[in-house]
């Protein structure tokens, strides 16, 4: 039965539902553009979601909640930066341990606030624009964090590709030695953007607990999205806009799974719920395959394929995950 299904509703639900994921994805994109993999996303989001909720409900101020969540995210990221950039420890190891630890820390510190009253950031339609026929409902009838997420996408692109800081950032990500030779301090840049990216990830936590999945508990409901964000960064080929599109695609799949349930009552609900995750991985596989030598050779011959490969090709920042050797 198709009732209760309306493309506009789905579209606007996707925009809203994807907001936190978009923030996290953009944050990690920045970080990885500087050559650092911050694997602690999943835990960071939970911890900052908790912090945001607690602070917001104690202070009664949403703003305070978001501020604190950003700070928390930045702190965790600072740890990653300290350990991997300064001490040259394995970024993966540090990130993974922090993922588990921050999550438990959130549950431990947040336990007495579980399922308590908390403020919610309601919708704030944009005065004139929300009146527009289609776009009005889809784009301009959301809560502030959702607008923020949409603005961030554009901003991230502009920052990366149109500002001198963005250029420096990409330089460090591509070749630390060369950046150093040009008078840029790679370690500093790496630390800065790891922390900045972490702050964005923190914001996504607040977006969960104060907006898209209001409330705090164990589980909060944002668990797992950090890992998806990490996959999306690759899927998005380290390009903010492409990564964001990936986030919207994922949100779309999740929203649709609610409708699928009533369309195919015989298929157990879990199937639709789990589907998006392997699908993401599958897409990853495709885009990596497209990048392989064989694919390149094929592309040499068929112009059509070449376009496709250009579209899907992914070129990780050359210094991604590497530590810099100083003497």
């Amino acid at each position: 039965m198709m009732d209760g299904f309306d493309m506009l509703l789905v579209a606007s639900a996707v925009i809203a539902g994807a907001a936190p994921l978009v923030m996290a994805t953009l944050g990690e994109t920045l970080t990885e553009r500087a050559g650092v993999v911050n694997l602690s996303l999943d835990g960071t989001i939970v911890l900052s979601a908790m912090a945001a909720f607690v602070v917001a409900s104690l202070s009664g101020s949403l703003l305070a909640g978001f501020a604190v969540s950003a700070a928390v995210g930045a702190c965790v990221a600072a740890l990653v930066a300290l350990f991997s950039v300064r001490l040259g420890m394995s970024q993966v190891a540090v990130g993974f341990v922090l993922t588990l630890m921050t999550r438990d820390l959130a549950y431990f510190l947040g336990s007495q606030y579980a399922r308590t009253e908390g403020p919610i950031s309601g919708s704030a339609p944009v005065p004139v624009l929300s009146g527009m026929p289609v776009l009005g409902q889809v784009l301009f009838n959301h809560s502030v964090p959702v607008y923020l997420s949409m603005i961030m996408v554009a901003f991230a692109w502009w920052y990366l590709y149109r500002t001198s800081w963005g250029l420096r950032l990409r330089c460090v990500g591509e070749n630390m030695e060369a950046a150093y030779a040009r008078g840029i301090d790679p370690d500093l840049v790496r630390v800065v953007y790891t922390v900045a990216g972490g702050a964005l990830v923190g914001l996504s936590g607040a977006a969960f607990s104060l907006c898209t999945k209001p409330g705090w508990g164990q589980p909060q409901g944002c668990e797992g999205s950090g890992w998806i964000a990490l996959a999306l960064v690759i899927f998005g080929a380290w390009h903010p806009v492409r990564a964001a599109l990936g986030a919207y695609l994922f949100a779309f799949l999740q929203v649709m799974s609610i409708h699928f349930q009533s369309w195919f009552p015989d298929v157990p609900a879990q199937v639709f719920q789990v589907a998006p995750f392997p699908l993401m991985i599958f897409l990853l596989a495709v885009s990596t395959l497209v990048h392989s030598e064989e694919a390149k050779m094929l592309a040499e011959r068929h112009p059509l394929l070449r376009i496709l490969t250009r579209g899907l090709a992914q070129a990780p920042p050359l210094s991604l995950g590497k530590a810099r050797s100083r003497d």
Binding site: M1, D3, G4, F5, D6, L9, S12, A13, G17, S111, Q112, A114, R115, E117, I120, G122, S123, T212, K213, P214, G215, G217, Q218, P219, G221, C222, E223, G224, S225, Q254, V255, S257, I258, H259, Q261, S262, P265, D266, V267, P268, A269, Q270, F272, Q273, V274, P276, F277
Partner: protein, 373 residues
């Protein structure tokens, strides 16, 4: 005198946090009630007893620990402790066990020291459905279901019957104008990536014209989202579940809450255990029709919420009176299953077993009835 001697310790295993404003808190306060009302008793409890919160921890292990701490009666409050508590009961034959919501005694699997107890929540759900139907403007009621099994089918159907009664008999509307949609999230609470996100489901309900959502899950997303929608200027309502205090904070949208009050039931069991009148039984306690909200006597109640209109309150009062007097019999034929098969012939009244083991949702409800084949 009794109190002077070593206190009678009973243990409580809670599936969720003791302060979850939901299912587990209801049990926790039931335990406290026993401590208050039965002299010489002392409760020890452990909450979040579920494998995802306590990886690797088994019921048996926790029972062992409680017995070490001197417990002589152990209450397990959740369906998912079924097998664990049975195993523990076999292991500790001279300790008394209570499994809430189970049916081991019915199925004969239970050892003699194990008792099943549950509340006739279908009455509470009927009242919930009733209130929903009187309130809805769009005639579309959403039911936020957990996973599909006899219990959840039973409760969803009860809510539907209550709603249909209000719709047809009270406000005399055309039954075809009433939509009652059940959407299952796949679990008692949200597991990211595994269950549907209750917030999303509730949002989807409200966005697609459903203005009342009845929650059948352990967590309070429905109320949360309703509040969000009200802030956005929509007129929507929600009905939480399990705990008398569940409306707190959500009062602006809460039509009321069907809740459990375990105090009396537990007290009687503890007394039996203390006085040696323990016997294996399957107890299914209903509301105290004299006053369904009497904490001392009624196991199932319905706490009206601020958002329920005055006339609706009145109608609900009469409805409850009808249920009490037996004039209103909702599990009574003619009733068909979703697929058209006959559940109850005209005039036939369902037995407890028929209600307990409801195999499918009822005709007129929308949504999946059974998971896989």
């Amino acid at each position: 005198a009794v109190a002077a001697t070593k206190p009678y310790v009973f243990g409580l295993l809670l599936v969720g946090p003791y302060n979850d404003k939901g299912y587990s808190q209801a049990h926790y306060e039931g335990g406290r009630y026993v401590e208050k009302t039965v002299p010489g008793t002392k409760m020890i409890y452990i909450d979040k007893v579920n494998p995802s919160d306590r990886p690797g921890v088994t019921i048996v292990q926790l029972v062992d620990d409680m017995v070490e701490k001197g417990a002589r009666l152990v209450i397990a409050n959740s369906d998912d402790m079924k097998d664990g508590i049975r195993e523990a009961a076999r292991k500790h034959p001279n300790i008394h066990f209570v499994h809430v919501s189970g049916d081991d005694v019915l199925t004969g699997k239970a050892p003699s020291n194990l008792v099943n107890i549950f509340g006739r929540m279908e009455y509470g759900k009927m009242m919930a459905g009733f209130a929903a139907a009187l309130t809805t403007k769009t005639g579309k009621i959403g039911y936020l279901g957990p996973l599909i099994n006899e219990e959840t089918r039973r409760l969803a159907s009860a809510a539907y019957l209550g709603a249909r009664y209000a719709w047809e008999k009270v406000i005399k509307r055309n039954p075809n104008d009433l939509t009652f949609q059940v959407t299952w999230i796949g679990f008692w609470f949200n597991i990211p990536g595994v269950t549907a996100d209750p917030s999303q489901v509730a949002k989807n309900f409200y966005d697609s014209g459903f203005d009342v959502v009845i929650s059948g899950i352990d967590t309070t997303e429905a109320v949360m989202v309703a509040k969000q929608k009200v802030n956005e200027g929509k007129k929507v309502w929600a009905i939480p579940y399990d705990y008398v205090g569940a409306c707190e904070g959500g009062s602006s949208v809460c039509l009321g809450v069907p809740y459990f009050n375990w105090g009396p039931g537990y007290a009687s069991l503890v007394k039996k255990s203390m006085s040696g009148h323990w016997k294996p039984e399957w107890i299914w306690l209903g509301p105290d029709w004299k006053d369904i909200n009497n904490p001392a006597t009624s196991t199932v109640g319905f706490m009206v919420g601020d958002a329920l209109s005055q006339e609706a309150r009145k109608a609900l009062k009469d409805f409850i009176a009808g249920l009490a007097s037996g004039k209103v019999q909702l599990f009574k034929g003619p009733l068909n299953f979703q697929d058209g098969r006959v559940f109850l012939k005209k005039g036939e009244v369902a037995t407890d077993r028929q209600i307990w083991y409801l195999p499918m949702l009822l005709q007129g409800m929308k949504g999946a009835s059974s998971q896989a084949k």
